[in-house]
């Protein structure tokens, strides 16, 4: 049957979001998770980090209380600024303090294997 027109935010960790990633492209819908490193009230720009990777988030449409050091998850579209820096224009966001990021990343791997199995099973 036909699918929904709203794009799902693909599950990616910040560490996977490099220039070689298929998700690292203009307009890609992503779900990202990271610790808030900085937040500028005037511009509503947040920066989240995971390991050594950081990502700017445009939170203009969010009604969240941002606390540096807390962990947040956002769904939105990836855009590239004139400087070529990536920024996620967030549609929704939430505080996920207490999330087990290691378990999250391991589960993502299992989920991807399962999804590939199921999709391959349909086509063979």
């Amino acid at each position: 049957m036909a699918s929904s027109t709203i794009s799902s935010g693909a599950l990616v960790s910040l560490e996977e979001l490099s220039s070689s990633s298929p998700h690292f492209k203009q307009g890609a819908s992503l779900r990202v998770t990271g610790k808030l490193q900085e937040y500028t009230v005037e511009t509503a720009i947040a920066v989240i980090v995971d390991g050594n990777v950081r990502l700017k988030i445009d939170t203009q449409h969010m009604k969240l209380n941002f606390r540096v050091g807390s962990t947040y998850q956002f769904i939105g579209e990836l855009l590239f600024e004139p400087s070529d820096e990536a920024i996620l224009k967030a549609r929704v966001g939430r505080n996920v303090d207490g999330i087990d990021l290691n378990l999250y990343k391991q589960s993502l791997q299992l989920l991807r294997v399962f999804q590939a199995e199921q999709i391959n099973g349909r086509t063979t």
Partner: protein, 162 residues
Amino acid sequence: MDSLYHTHVKLLAFDFITLTPNPSDPLSFSRKGLSISRAETLGIVTCREHKPNKFLKFTVDDGTGCIPCILWLNQLSSQYFSRRNPSDVRLIANAAAKFASEVQLGVVARVRGRITAYRGAVQITVSDVVVERDPNIDILHWLDCVKLARKCYDVVPCYKPK
């Protein structure tokens, strides 16, 4: 009838959206030959359209896709409920209004309901909603869905009418 017919089957969105209507039973849908009629999903609410006293349409994004959901809010005016006990109908209407107030953009919602089709797409006609607070709850849901598919939904024998 299949043993999972009345069960709220936990499906990931990429799986849910491939369900196909059963030509022989307008209330059921087929997943790899298995007839099911109810589903459970869990994910972030990413879209919300509210018509007071009519309906709330919303979308649940579980990271593998989006599932459209409809929560009816017209119980007090719909002919469909006119033959039922008015106090029961009020209870149903109050519960639906409470669910509608809880389903806000960005929350993680666990949604159960009947699988229905609208304009060629499958959706959930909502019977209940729980807003989840645990930040690890979607991990548990993914793993539940994977385990149930592998150990149960993919191996349950399907009833084939002779």
